[in-house]
Each structure stands twice: as structure tokens, then as C-alpha cells.
Symmetry: C2
Subunit: 323 residues, 2 copies
């Protein structure tokens, strides 16, 4: 099924919203793209980047006449947006979103959705640590998964159209129940972010190791964590405020396992450590095979060329035994 929308309304235009705008435009998935956001500065930025056709601070105006509306704002803003746009939603329209939690979205947006609008919350599992309208790019969703959680009263044909829209942008699509989504994402995304934010904070607070040392020697592993710990703070605040139960459950599992590992270090249990460290390689191989990660070492990070031999280097000789 080839899909085409007359008017796509994006409410919020950060990394994900701008990537949808660029991908939908490039793939010809919508005639008109209307962009709405709360901040005049961000709206001006989106206009300068040429991300859409209509720019407005009024979300209701953006959704008027749209057959596809996607909320791309932080989840904490959803309820107010839903209240504002509900009267302007066109009968037969699809209302979706890209938020990192789903049960909460169903709970706060659901009650505002008119009966003749198809509410299909969604979540593309894609992103970078950059944010804002200039961070988007059309290839962001290519090869990544997008989870859709169609509500029970939604017609299959409407879900099919939204599936085709995401496939058109290069995504794979999985249909899932909202509560299960929240459990899956708690372990694959929310806990990783929580512990990354945490270790970066811990390192920042030490007295025995200076900040300069943490920075210089970060290539030992620490720098990997700083990437996701550089993600948008407001977005992540909202994730942890709205997926509390699943996050606390998965965090409990993580802490229980960490306590086992701590004990193995404490008593010097070499075989236990080696066994734990050996089984974890397989999962990375599977992620690479599934096309969700590069096989290149070090994420394919660029390596500087080594200095050429004919560039002379001069060091003061400190004297002493030089034999």
C-alpha cells in the first residue's frame, strides 16, 4: 500500500519532528506539512530551515484539515496540546505521537480524542544526542524500528496507513500493547539513560580524581556514556516522571545483578567474573546481525592518522642514565 497524506501536522519540531518533516518531504508522503511549536525562536528556526509549508504557534490551527497529526513535543506537554487541538481535529484523521512512553500517553491524551479520530500512539526507536530543529536528518529512521500502539477502537485500515507512512521513511514497524512497550523501553532505553546520567554525575563530583583527568582519560570507556547522558534533559525528565513503575522494576533487577557482581569483585571470584563477561559478547553480535548496530570497531569513530615519521618531534632531555 502506497500512502499519501494531504496535510501532515507536526506539533513540536525538535530532532524527531524535524527528521519526520525531512523524511516525509523527501519520500513524498504528504502534500502539505504544517509545523507548530510553543516557542517563536524554534518556529523561526524551523522556517529558516525550510522544514514545512505552514508555521504557526497555534497548534489547533496546524491540525485543522490535517489527515495525519503527530505530537513531537516532550511528553509532559501532551495533555495541554491534546486539550488545545481536540476541537480542531478533522473527522477521519490519524492522531499519533513519537513519545518514549506509551501507557501514560494513552492515559492523558486518550480522553481528549474525538470518537471519529484514530488514535495510534507511536515511538520511533531512533535518535541522536543532539536536539532541536537543526538536529534532524531524513535518514534518521532508516533501518530503525518504530513501535505503534493502536488503540482498540482504531480501524485496521488506519493503522495500515500509519505503518506505510513509517515504512515509507525507511522504518521497520512493530505493533505492540502500550504497557508492554513501556517495559521493553525501560530496559533498552530508560535504564541505560539513567545509569549513563548517573555515572557522568558521579565522575563530575569526585574529589580524588580531577575533572581534567576524567576528560583526558575518558577514552577508557567513560566517554561512551557521555553520549546518551548529553540527551535532552526535559525530554528525559518527562520519561522518568511518566514511566515510573517499569523504570523502578528494571532498576531493581539491574541493582540486584550489580550486587552479585560487586560481591564477585569483593571476594575476588575470577571464574564468576569471567563467566559474566563472556556471555555478554553474544548479544552485541546479534544486534549487529539484526542491522541495529555497525560492525565497525569503536562504533566506526574516526581515528586520526598517526603522525608521519618525517615530522620531527623535540623533547628536552632530562639527563641521567640514558644507556
Amino acid at each position: 500500500m502506497s500512502v499519501h497524506f494531504r496535510k501532515l501536522a507536526l506539533i513540536g519540531i525538535g530532532l524527531i519532528g524535524s527528521s519526520i518533516a525531512l523524511a516525509a518531504r523527501r519520500q513524498g508522503l504528504a502534500d502539505v506539512i504544517a509545523i507548530s511549536t510553543r516557542s517563536q525562536t524554534t518556529l523561526d528556526e524551523a522556517r529558516e530551515l525550510g522544514l514545512g509549508d505552514i508555521y504557526t504557534l497555534d497548534a489547533a490551527e496546524a491540525v485543522r484539515g490535517a489527515d495525519l497529526v503527530i505530537l513531537c513535543a516532550p511528553v509532559g506537554a501532551y495533555e495541554a496540546i491534546a486539550r488545545a487541538i481536540a476541537p480542531a481535529l478533522q473527522p477521519g484523521a490519524i492522531l499519533s505521537d513519537v513519545g518514549s512512553v506509551k501507557a501514560h500517553v494513552v492515559k492523558v491524551v486518550g480522553p481528549h480524542v474525538p470518537a471519529d479520530v484514530s488514535f495510534i500512539p507511536g515511538h520511533p526507536i531512533a535518535g541522536t544526542e543532539h536536539s532541536g530543529p537543526s538536529a534532524g536528518f531524513a535518514e534518521l529512521f532508516a533501518g530503525r524500528w518504530c513501535i505503534l500502539t493502536p488503540q482498540p477502537d482504531v480501524a485496521q485500515g488506519q493503522t495500515d496507513k500509519l505503518v506505510a507512512f513509517w515504512e515509507g521513511m525507511g522504518s521497520n514497524v512493530e505493533i505492540m500493547e502500550a504497557g508492554h512497550h513501556d517495559m521493553v523501553l525501560a530496559i533498552t532505553s530508560h535504564i541505560p539513560h539513567l545509569i549513563a546520567y548517573n555515572i557522568v554525575g558521579t565522575a563530575d563530583d569526585l574529589e580524588t580524581v580531577t575533572k581534567s583527568e576524567v576528560i583526558k582519560f575518558s577514552a577508557g570507556g567513560f566517554r561512551d556514556f557521555t553520549r546518551i547522558a548529553a540527551s535532552d534533559p526535559v525530554m528525559w525528565r518527562d520519561v522518568f516522571l511518566t514511566n515510573r513503575e517499569a523504570v523502578l522494576e528494571m532498576l531493581g533487577r539491574f541493582l540486584s545483578d550489580l550486587s552479585t557482581l560487586q560481591h564477585a569483585v569483593d571476594i575476588g571470584d575470577g571464574p564468576a567474573l569471567e563467566a559474566i563477561f563472556t556471555r555478554t559478547r553474544a548479544i552485541r553480535r546479534s544486534i549487529i546481525s539484526a542491522g541495529q548496530e555497525t560492525a565497525a570497531p569503536d562504533f566506526g569513530r574516526p581515528h586520526e592518522a598517526a603522525p608521519v615519521p618525517d615530522v620531527p618531534y623535540v623533547r628536552e632531555h632530562g639527563g641521567g642514565d640514558d644507556a
Copy 2:
């Protein structure tokens, strides 16, 4: 100071040993490179790759006549190696290593080092998740730091030579006390590896979320952790067996901070969460400015091109309301 060694002996030829061999050869830092390792298979692999000039299973034979000897084996093997090579070390030689812990290395290797040999333990803060002789490349150390911990009786001129050797391979060099090294690396490398191994193990054990779901949706953040959790298990077992005190101290800090974060999630303290998530961005910016990380989003991971619009995609229509 330009440096040049007559014979460089590498004991152990994994990722780091093979990278030293390639970089030293390319930069003309040694006339002859002798390679020794315990396993015939690995030795044959090194020979096929043409990493050196002399290949032997006998470490003592490799170090005979060498003016620079670098231990590149897992730290757990050091004491036996030191015992084996001590009688063959040439007067005036420099003995160094690349192990991830330093106080333990001083403790187990130090007593075996003859008085006329300069013992300067070292640690290049560089690597990838790949291991073995074929994983090495000459650019590995370019722009990365190498920490040297010269022992008190070592002449400055000998330290200068080793500094010049690492600078010749493109490294920056920092001189540090062994115990302090172990504290710095506990937070910048050992704890990151421990929690990465841990979360990958946790995810692997869940019943509510399938392994296939963890793999598919790993781009939400989890896949970042699988990189360092794919590092060499034996090497990392030895790190945690030999840097117990510093690791447990830093883990205690991490857990204490995590408990604060857990509480903030539990009581829904939005301002506290946002404050913690905001301060962590600065440290990544500093790491990028210091040349220790790429500024490209997502570590510069390759992104597939989005599908071109003229490739038709076909989906079964599920029927129902399609307005």
C-alpha cells in the same frame, strides 16, 4: 628527542600489542620487533599478519638483547612472565607494559626486575571492543593519552625515551603515580565496563522482555553499552581481580548517587531529575573539545540512506474504516 630502539620485544600480541607493532614499524621506532605469546595459534596469526621480525613461544628468548620490552598480555599472566624473562633482560633495557591497572603490576613485577633495568609501567588509554592480533591498527594511539608510572629509581633519561616512543606513535603522555592511576581509571574505565557488563547481563535474563525485543529496540540506548561489554573477558576479569579497592570505592559512589536518582524517580521529583540531566551535557562538550571524542552525532555511526521514493512498497490492506 628522537627515539629509536634496536630491538623491541612485545610479550603478548592482542589488540594493543599488534597496534604497537604496526605503529612502531610505520614510525620507524625500532629496528627489530620480537613477538612472543603463549599460544602457537596466536603466534602463527601474528606471523601471517607480518607484525614483527622474530616470533617465539619463549618470552626469555624474545627479550634477549631488547632495549625495550613491553608486556602486552592480560595482567594475570604478568608475574609468571616477569619471572621467566628476568634473567634474560639486558642491562640498560626499559621494561614497560600496557596493563589497565598499575599498583598491582608494580607489586607483582617489580620484585623480579634486575637493578640495571628501568621499570616504567604504562597504560595507553586506547582500544576497541575487538581483540586478538588481527584487531590492531597503527592509528590506535593517535591523539589518545598514555599514562606512564616510572618507578622511583628510574633515570629521567629512560623515562624520556619511553615518552618519546609513545609520542612517536601519536600519543599524548602523562606521568602519574601508580595508585592514582588506578583511582582515575576505576572511574573512567573500570566502573563503565562493570555497569555495561551488568546491564547487558540483566537484559539477557529478563522474562517479561524477550531477547529478540532487546535486540530490535537496542537503538534506544542499550546498544551503546554492548560495545564495551563485548571487550575481552579475560583481560577484564584480571582488571577487577587486581584493582579491587579502587573499583569498590568508585562503585560505592556510583551506587550512592544512583540511590538518589532512584528516589527522585520514585517520588516524581521533576526539578531534581532535570537538574541532574542538565549538568551532564557540559562534560561531553569538554571531552570533544579535548580531542578525545568525535563531535559527530551518534559517534558518527553510519546511517543508511532512506529508501528512494520510486521503489514501490506493497502492504496488504486490512479493511475497515479507511476514511
